[in-house]
Symmetry: C2
Subunit: 142 residues, 2 copies
Amino acid sequence: MTGADVEVKLRESGLRVTRQRVAVLTVLHDHPHTDTDTVIRRVREVAGDVSHQAVYDVLRALTDAGLLRRIQPTGSVARYEVRVGDNHHHVVCRSCGAIADVDCAVGHAPCLTPSDHHGFVIDEAEVTYWGVCPTCAAAAAS
Amino acid sequence: MTGADVEVKLRESGLRVTRQRVAVLTVLHDHPHTDTDTVIRRVREVAGDVSHQAVYDVLRALTDAGLLRRIQPTGSVARYEVRVGDNHHHVVCRSCGAIADVDCAVGHAPCLTPSDHHGFVIDEAEVTYWGVCPTCAAAAAS
DNA sequence: AGCAAGACTTGATTTGTTCCAGACAAGCGG
DNA sequence: CCGCTTGTCTGGAACAAATCAAGTCTTGCT
């Protein structure tokens, strides 16, 4: 994803193109599942001084616009990733909190249909797999 | 679930039986998906003065012991429910945050197997359905 | 009944996040 | 290129959720 691609995405969503927004999208494209604090640090590396409010504002604005997806596994702080259309899921390490992408088991949202939906109108099924990552498994074995 | 049942469960898990722990388990049995703050209030209703720290400690201890399950949908605070063996899932209202139980789509944990697990050793698949509850849907329609 | 580990209390502290208000800067349509 | 609108900055302040620390009490074993 180039800076130009990011610009187009922003415009398509009716959002102005600013240095800060481009930086946030670029950072999250290169490093998915990043928490807010790390986003702030990385944004400053590529775009110079940016206030922490600006980053919070941008994350909120882009999430509302549907360009970002906010994920927050139990016990973790908020993390963000660029929203892509593939409806993928996540596997989280119980030991170190590492997150990896996993393709959807079926293919399109909602990829699962509950037996009894209690009258809810369901538009998405989010799956989180819990386990232990290879690194932590190796560390535990020794 | 009677107080005696709760006592047995605690002892089976090697935990001491205290007023606070019995109260927490009872409250969560009667009101699943309750957030920490509400647990504290309800515990105080049934068991008199209990420090908020004690409730946090109890929730942690019982979760570690496997008697409770902690759930935390994106954008929500931590909620707890008594852990039952049926591996059910949850449907969450995007509008008001209401949570309802949903039976597992397949039947046993892990009830879904990802195509590419990236070397992770997976022991559980947690599914969160997102949608709008009947109440909010009705309110939006009017 | 006595004892020690474990559980609880009190109170302060940290962490992540949001809100505020006014001044300034920048994007984009005309 | 001008001006309106939107976004960002400074920098505080406030917030709720959760955790830490030290001392006191209680449970359950002997």
